[in-house]
């Protein structure tokens, strides 16, 4: 096994996780449960393919993909923040809705129930091994940028306050609703970008192409104890496990199913408090009267 190829493949696999987990951290720190990342990613991926297909430019695809994530994020935000619906229930519904909506428009736009036609993407130079894709660099930057935002800006301070003690934030004139709308919108855009990367990397949209990556990203958020940098570390760890599985394929040393379990097993371990206590933001998922 070539260490360099292992590393590059790991990073390419990690990018969608990094985008989505960074988004998940922002929403969850503001107090909104991010079970929806899967749906945001899927709609982002579909948006990217539609935009790229009709314009011929992947940059337009990036914008339409971000928009796709944002639309679903706003549905999530309006139902949970404005109408105070249960965030877990809505989250599951959003994910199912994203599958249905993308499938519907796939049929409508591309007359196929399985995949879109091939679209343009970024980079493609074999020697660059994917590192000529600007989205890859953006993905690597997402966690540090989110960390800076959360810990060093007034908006980040308000996000943390909204997630820990919304009444306290409200009592000093901070609009918790506004903070949460923005946080969920940011999570939709970031997770959408994760989907954009995935679709443009494969040059097409396929039905349910995110295949649980949003859930791995949530696992990374929890395993990373709601810190953007630790969550990014978790994304890299999960990606390394996946790379290992791919590179070991054929050797049958370990059944691939076991490798696929790693993120979920680690998340359960993290939640059980073995690796330091995973204390979620105090107001996470709470609906106040």
């Amino acid at each position: 096994m070539n260490p360099l190829s292992f590393l590059t493949q790991m990073i390419r696999i990690a990018i969608p996780y990094l985008f989505a987990a960074s988004g998940g951290v922002v929403a969850e720190r503001s107090g909104i449960v991010s079970l929806t990342l899967e749906g945001f990613m899927l709609s982002g991926a579909f948006g990217a393919v539609v935009g790229t297909h009709y314009s011929g430019s992947p940059w337009v695809g990036v914008l339409t993909g971000m928009f796709g994530g944002l639309v679903f994020a706003l549905i999530h935000a309006i139902t949970t923040i404005r109408y105070r619906a249960d965030q877990v229930v809505v989250g599951v519904a959003i994910n199912l809705l994203a599958i249905g909506v993308t499938r519907f428009f796939l049929k409508l736009f591309f007359a196929s129930s399985s995949n879109s036609p091939r679209v343009a993407g970024f980079g493609g130079n074999i020697k660059a091994a994917g590192f000529d894709n600007p989205l890859l660099w953006l993905g690597l930057l997402s966690a540090p940028v989110v960390a800076f935002m959360i810990y060093r800006t007034p908006f980040g301070l308000r996000v943390r306050a909204a997630g820990e003690h919304p009444e306290a934030a409200e009592s000093v004139g901070v609009s918790v609703e506004r903070v949460r709308y923005l946080a969920v919108a940011i999570s939709g855009i970031l997770a959408g970008l994760g989907g954009v990367y995935l679709a443009l990397d494969q040059h097409q949209f396929t039905d349910q192409m995110t295949a649980g990556r949003g859930f791995i990203a949530i696992s990374a958020v929890i395993f990373g104890r709601w810190s953007p940098i630790r969550a990014a570390g978790a994304c890299l760890l999960f990606a390394a496990a996946e790379t290992l599985q791919i590179q070991l394929q054929g050797s049958h040393a370990i059944p691939s199913q076991f490798i696929e379990m790693i993120p979920y097993v680690l998340t359960i371990i993290a939640l059980a408090g073995v690796v330091g206590r995973a204390v979620p933001p105090a107001a996470l998922g709470k609906v106040e009267d």
Binding site: F155, L157, R160, A161, H165, A168
Partner: protein, 512 residues
């Protein structure tokens, strides 16, 4: 002189409940104004309207002569109104400085939080006011007294000239209370106007210049403090004569003829860990004899809660023994402890005492439901019979057994708990904060019930944050400090000052 605050004819309803009915309040600048009344009298609603958290249905609010009726939180803050809430409005995971600047953050360039300036501002304000707290500490690491300092700093930081403090002393130890008084007097002397919401009459008399009394959503009296007495204020609050047990001592009663040794509650070197594995009670031993009240005082968080939970069977003990009438119950589950003769009034009636959605009748048989069942089916008639009987015996209002417990006032909810725990046969009673959040009238009733049980030869362990309650009801008083009994003494020899010193650990005691 223009009043700093003038509220006239304020109406505010929540569904069928009329929290304010033409309430009024007039506060002059530079005074400490006490707003008193029983729970549910409408004090907090009135202050929420003042702070812009709610809009009144009718009425007029003026601040410094300006009509501000129906303004928003940020308007109120901008106009110099600062509310120190009863439940701290601080984010525990943020630092002191971060909590202070939340909502009005200083920035370096465009988007970056200027943390250094925030910390400097805190230090500067600390020096000016004498409210010292290190800006970099996490709020979750602060003591209650320190957290309150941060709350006051927070409103001052926003330029508050009119401070509203909602029950500020409920969680403080006596020395912390005196420190707070000094701060408030200093603020007043520097020109601040202070509204103090409280139900402790001794505080009102000690600190305030003027008093407004509210009852049932209306303002019933406005009077200069120097022209009234605690008894008069209490009468205005309740609308009838009340006996103020605070300050006056009960006489020791005749005990049942020579109680058998080992009767009552006996605890031997009990050691308990908190849920996080921290030692919270260490080697505590004591006994409570039949016909005796042992009062435990102490600043909250010194192990009282865990001690009571362990005695009630809600928390495992690490080592030691618990005996009731000579029977070792250390390893017995809650139900078996009930059968041995233990009753428990839990400190948090919402968390442990009641199921708020259940009816009063159902709440009255919680834990003893098996006695109301025949072949596994609950007999409704007997439940109702029991409810009607207990409702009249314990004066629960409204006298409606099928009302949900949630619909009752705090005092009547507590009476439901007390009726259930004291209405059955028991020999040892654990009464934890039995009058917390309960109005003056109900406090009087609950105290009578406890004293009656004592004269019937029950052993009572009373844990209370109210020092005067502990002193008034107990035969002996213990102070818990850092998981141990700092002192155990006859109540007749104790005073608030002495206990206060043990409570904060400046005086170390005789007890193990």
């Amino acid at each position: 002189m223009t009043p700093a605050i003038r509220m006239v004819g304020i109406d505010k309803s929540f569904g069928a409940i009329r929290a304010n009915r033409g309430a009024s309040l007039e506060v002059m600048p530079g005074e400490i104004h006490a707003l008193v009344g029983e729970n549910g009298a409408g004090k907090s609603t009135l202050m929420r309207i003042l702070g812009g958290l709610m809009k009144p249905d009718a009425g007029r609010v003026e601040v410094n002569g300006r009509d501000v009726t129906g303004w928003s939180t940020s308007d109120a803050i901008a106009a110099g109104i600062g509310i120190v809430h009863q439940h701290f409005m601080l984010v525990p995971t943020l630092t002191v400085a971060e909590n202070l600047v939340l909502g009005c953050e200083p920035k370096t360039r465009i988007v970056v939080l200027d943390y250094k300036r925030a910390a400097d501002d805190v230090r500067k304000l600390s020096n000016e006011t004498g409210l010292v707290v290190a800006p970099d500490r996490l709020v979750s690491d602060l003591s209650v007294g320190e957290a309150q300092r941060v709350e006051i700093l927070k409103v001052l930081f926003r330029g508050a000239k009119i401070l509203v403090l909602d029950e500020p002393t409920a969680v403080l130890s006596p020395p912390e209370v005196h420190e707070l008084w000094a701060v408030l007097r200093r603020l007043r002397d520097n020109g601040a106007t202070i509204v103090l919401i409280t139900h402790r009459l001794d505080e009102v008399v000690e600190l305030s210049d003027t008093i407004t009394v509210m009852r049932a959503g209306q303002t019933v009296e406005r009077i200069k403090t120097s022209e009234t007495t605690p008894a008069e204020i209490a009468r205005a609050m309740v609308g009838r004569e009340v006996s103020l047990s605070a300050g006056k001592r009960v006489q020791p009663v005749q005990r049942p003829a020579s109680p058998q040794p080992g009767q009552g509650l006996e605890v031997r070197s009990l050691t308990i860990n908190s849920s996080r594995g921290i030692r919270v009670v260490e080697g505590v031993s004591f006994g409570v004899k039949p016909g005796e009240v042992l009062g435990i005082a102490g600043v909250e968080g010194n192990g009282q809660t865990e001690l009571v939970e362990a005695l009630a069977g809600l928390r495992p003990v690490l080592s030691g023994d618990i005996l009731i009438d000579g029977v070792d119950i250390t390893r017995r589950p809650v139900a078996a402890r009930h059968d041995t003769g233990l009753s428990h009034i839990p400190e948090d009636r919402h968390r442990r005492g009641l199921i708020l959605e259940y009816t009063v009748a159902d709440n009255l048989i919680l834990g003893v439901q098996k006695y109301f069942a025949k072949r596994g089916v609950i007999e409704k008639d007997r439940v109702m019979e029991n409810a009607i009987q207990e409702i009249s015996a314990f004066d629960i209002r409204p006298a409606n057994p099928i009302l949900a417990a949630r619909a009752l006032s705090g005092g009547n909810q507590q009476k439901v708990v007390i009726a259930r725990e004291m209405g059955r046969d028991f020999s040892v009673l654990l009464a934890s904060q039995p009058t917390r959040g309960v109005d003056v009238g109900a406090i009087e009733f609950i105290h009578q019930q406890l004293l009656e049980a004592r004269s019937k030869g029950k052993a009572i362990l009373l844990v209370s944050a109210e020092l005067n309650e502990v002193l008034a009801l107990s035969d002996r008083v213990a102070v818990m400090y850092r998981g141990k009994f700092a002192v155990v003494m006859p109540a007749a020899e104790a005073s608030e000052e002495v206990l206060g010193e043990y409570m904060i650990g400046t005086k170390k005691g005789n007890a193990a």
